[in-house]
């Protein structure tokens, strides 16, 4: 019986073994159950130097468990590959212990980027946390080579309990495995190193978002609260071999930020993250623990790393309960993301889901100016109830999900308005929106579909699930690269500090207005653009305050320079009037 999924007891020699020196058999169990037998693969022959998987002596417990009378039967006993199995277990592990879950949520609170909460009077407040700058490289503040360090946002959105956090965690863990690669151009890694890394991730307790609780008391609760931000450490973000060879180190990598958004359509249900913030902890004897925030009501919000708290005044977000909050998250994330990953598990509802996604996209296209607004959309069919390996083929799934619908704008007033407005402006008939395909083209750079089966459906075939996660990761990376290429062609390129500033502007804009968000104005709005002498004077004061924050030392200079400039102003004024100063009468 295994007491941990990394190790167990050999079925034959009954010694404690781990995945380093033992394997499960695909024929004798190997169905991912904790009771499945496990066998040593270490050769027991004295003096054998091969040690693992010795084909010469065939003296390991693994060899002994295979019946020797029939080669045909023996062939059915195959070693299960431990890496996919461990990967899937790390990804899909649900913590049932409330104490551990509380710790995980507390750790994950540091990853929170923004959150909207309603106070007791029903007013919405947007809480912004200092997450973005923590995850980005502050030293990369120069204006050159912006494309090499500008982060790409990949947002995971979808209804509650469709498995967004699990997907984000899978992408982050895969990125970490890819970072093991010694070569900077490929994504290969050795199985042993990967197993070590997975073990480390497991021992660290958390890597990426906290996923669904394994505690039966939390069965009906959503998990994530607000929007969380994670930086990918994968090495795969190269532009091309030319740049990889001419720019060394991190400059050749495009940082990828994964955004895990609170589930939509969860109503006003309290998420587990919120529950862990507000519920009193219980120790092993069942006593109440007094932790910070135990007595806080739901309307309060965590103060740690809080950057700012802005009231949400735009009426469209305030009137429709949780749907308004969902709309805010969706619009904001659409505006800033290069890749949007929409996660769903309901095949039957795909048409209405598509309409919803297209509505957000149409709003984002209309509501962001001076910024590439055509994103890549990845629809992930995540852990649905129906499984068919044929759906692994991307083309087949795209055919099912995207084609064959009636005109999607027929049932949606928002889309209908968008299509009519677009067609009015478009003079060329062939470019007008007359089909769903054309609508997709207008709103998205491209749409990709991907299928991630439930772990149960592929029990004993973890490699299938592992491959699908890798497939999704590769689609995400390619889309991010496309987004970067699109941005390189555009006029608007920002560095990290500017982007941080734009994001602050975006928070302020989206919380107070329904008007389009102009990225150009947000980036340049605070730059001085003096047009009158008071403006120039203000700009001069800005320069002096940036040069020296010691006001007393600059006092003399500022007073002197301003006074002499006023003398020059007066002199020029008199010269242009061609009159003596004393002859100018004061206005009556």
């Amino acid at each position: 019986m295994k007491d941990h999924f990394w190790d167990g007891v050999c079925e034959v020699c009954e010694k404690r073994v781990s995945f380093y020196n033992a394997r499960q058999c695909t024929f004798c169990g190997g169905k991912d159950s904790s009771d499945d037998p496990i066998y040593c693969i270490t050769c027991t022959e004295y003096g054998c130097t091969t040690r693992k998987n010795c084909q010469e002596h065939r003296a390991s417990c693994w060899d002994r468990h295979i019946p020797s009378q029939s080669a045909k039967v023996a062939a059915k006993h195959r070693m299960a590959d431990p890496l996919p199995e461990l990967f899937v277990k790390v990804i899909t592990h649900s913590e049932a212990d409330t104490q551990k879950l509380r710790q995980l949520h507390e750790q994950d609170e540091n990853a929170r980027w923004l959150k909207i909460r309603r106070d007791n009077d029903g007013r919405l407040d947007l809480f912004i946390y200092d997450r973005f700058m923590q995850e980005c490289d502050r030293s990369q503040s120069g204006n050159r080579k912006t494309t090499y360090h500008y982060p790409s946002f990949v947002s995971f959105i979808g209804d509650t309990s469709v498995g967004k956090s699990t997907l984000v965690r899978a992408m982050l863990v895969l990125g970490r495995l890819y970072s093991l690669s010694s070569s900077s151009t490929d994504q290969s890694f050795s199985d042993e190193a990967a197993i070590d890394e997975l073990r480390m991730i497991k021992e660290e307790g958390i890597y990426g978002p906290v996923t669904r609780s394994g505690n039966i008391d939390h069965l009906t609760d959503p998990t994530t609260s607000g929007v969380h931000l994670y930086r990918d450490v994968g090495k795969a973000m190269f532009k091309d071999s030319h740049r990889a060879s001419t720019h060394s180190g991190r400059l050749t990598q495009y940082p990828m930020l994964l955004v895990d958004c609170e589930g939509f359509r969860a109503g006003e249900a309290m998420t587990n993250a919120e529950r862990m913030e507000s519920e009193p902890g219980v120790d092993s004897r069942g006593r109440l623990l007094s932790t910070v925030g135990n007595n806080r009501g739901r309307s309060a919000s965590r103060q740690k790393n809080l950057l700012s708290q802005i009231p949400v005044l735009a009426p469209c977000y305030g009137y429709s309960g949780k749907d308004g909050v969902d709309l805010f998250y969706a619009r904001f994330l659409y505006a800033i993301s290069d890749v949007v990953v929409f996660v769903t598990k309901e095949d039957q509802r795909i048409q209405s889901e598509l309409i919803r996604v297209l509505e957000w996209a149409s709003a984002a296209v209309l509501k962001s100016v001076n910024h590439p607004s055509r994103k890549t959309l990845i629809i992930v069919r995540n852990m649905p109830s129906f499984h068919d390996p044929a759906l692994y083929k991307r083309d087949g799934l795209e055919e099912i999900y995207l084609r064959g619908h009636p005109n999607l704008w027929d049932d949606s007033p928002i889309l209908r308005e968008f299509v009519e407005g677009y067609n009015r402006k478009e003079e060329r008939f062939e470019l007008r929106i007359t089909s769903n395909r054309r609508l997709y083209e207008v709103l998205f750079k491209k749409i990709r579909c991907c299928y991630i089966p439930r772990a149960k459906e592929v029990m004993g075939q973890s490699h299938e699930l592992f491959e699908q996660y890798k497939e999704l990761r590769s689609v995400v990376e390619l889309s991010v690269r496309d987004g970067n290429e699109l941005r390189e062609l555009s006029f608007m390129k920002y560095n990290v500090p500017t982007l941080s500033h734009i994001l602050n502007r975006a928070f302020q804009h989206f919380s107070s207005s329904e008007e389009p968000f102009d990225f150009y104005l947000a980036a340049r709005g605070d730059n001085p653009n003096p047009r009158s002498m008071p403006d120039h004077l203000a700009n001069f004061l800005r320069h002096t305050s940036e040069y020296s924050s010691n006001n007393d030392s600059m006092y003399e200079m500022v007073i002197d320079v301003i006074t002499i400039s006023l003398v020059i102003y007066t002199q020029r004024l008199f010269e242009s009037g061609k009159s003596h100063p004393d002859s100018i009468q004061p206005p009556i």
């Binding site: 008071p534 006001n551 002197d560 006074t563 006023l566 100063p581």
Partner: protein
């Protein structure tokens, strides 16, 4: 007789007041200092949740206004400017009641000298302050002309501070920067300005395939008719060409400009 204070209160007080208001509303930064001395770099009061330093430190706390901009200090600033302005006014504009001709020139000269004295007094500070949006010499216009030291000047200041060129019409030699005192090492910085009331001279070369030869002949005829041996490119400010006019442009420009 109008007093200097009247002159100040009529217009200049408003300029100072609005300038300080614009600075406070748009550019004032938080004056919080971390224990190690690093300043808070989080901008704008409206978005201020806590302090952040460029080194990644954070601390809780609201936006801290600079002590210098309390209402009382602000009044003191403006009254100090008014006082000094009055002194200058008496010095320059009350010297002679009937300042005309050479006296006006003398006054201009004295103001110019005082201006240079004031600016060069802070030459060490100016070395670190540059702006491409404000002419720091007069604080009245957007500068167009950048000297080798990085300081830029508006056309009016170029004319006031520079020396009229003896080689080119409507051009001025800047013999050094009056702000940071950096001399133009090898030769004076020549600034050519458009003559007052002069329009922008544009030479537009049409397309039309073989008909491009017509404009070439025309240009040669103009050149011959003028007969001053001045290249056509020096008679215009901008040359644009379309289609076959485009390959003609390089022929009009000097070799070094093309490379």
């Amino acid at each position: 007789m109008t007093s200097p204070d009247d002159i100040f209160d009529r217009d200049l007080h408003r300029i100072c007041d609005e300038g300080i208001n614009a600075y406070l509303s748009k550019f004032e930064s938080c004056s919080y200092k971390f224990p190690e001395g690093a300043p808070c770099v989080s901008r704008l009061e409206a978005l201020h949740g806590h302090h952040t330093s460029s080194g990644g430190q954070t601390a809780q706390g609201p936006f801290l206004r600079e002590e210098a901009w309390t209402d009382e200090r602000r009044r003191l600033w403006i009254s100090e400017i008014r006082l000094r302005f009055s002194g200058y006014y008496d010095q320059f504009f009350r010297g002679g009641d009937n300042a005309h001709g050479s006296e006006v020139e003398s006054r201009e000269h004295r103001i110019l000298e005082e201006r240079k004295t004031v600016h060069t007094k802070y030459h060490k500070d100016w070395a670190s302050i540059r702006s491409n949006k404000t002419c720091l010499s007069c604080l009245q216009a957007v500068p167009d002309h950048v000297l080798g030291c990085g300081h830029s000047y508006c056309p009016r200041c170029i004319q006031e501070l520079g020396k009229s060129s003896s080689h080119f019409e409507c051009a001025w030699d800047m013999l050094g920067c009056v702000l940071c005192k950096s001399p133009e090492q090898e030769r004076p910085h020549l600034v050519k300005l458009r003559a007052r009331c002069a329009g922008v001279r544009v030479l537009a070369l049409d397309g039309g395939g073989i008909r491009g030869i017509v404009e070439l002949i025309l240009l040669r005829s103009i050149d011959d008719a003028i007969g001053l041996k001045i290249p056509v490119r020096d008679m215009v400010d901008l040359i644009v060409g379309t289609s076959t006019g485009e390959p003609i442009i390089p022929k009009l420009l000097p070799h070094q400009l093309l490379h």
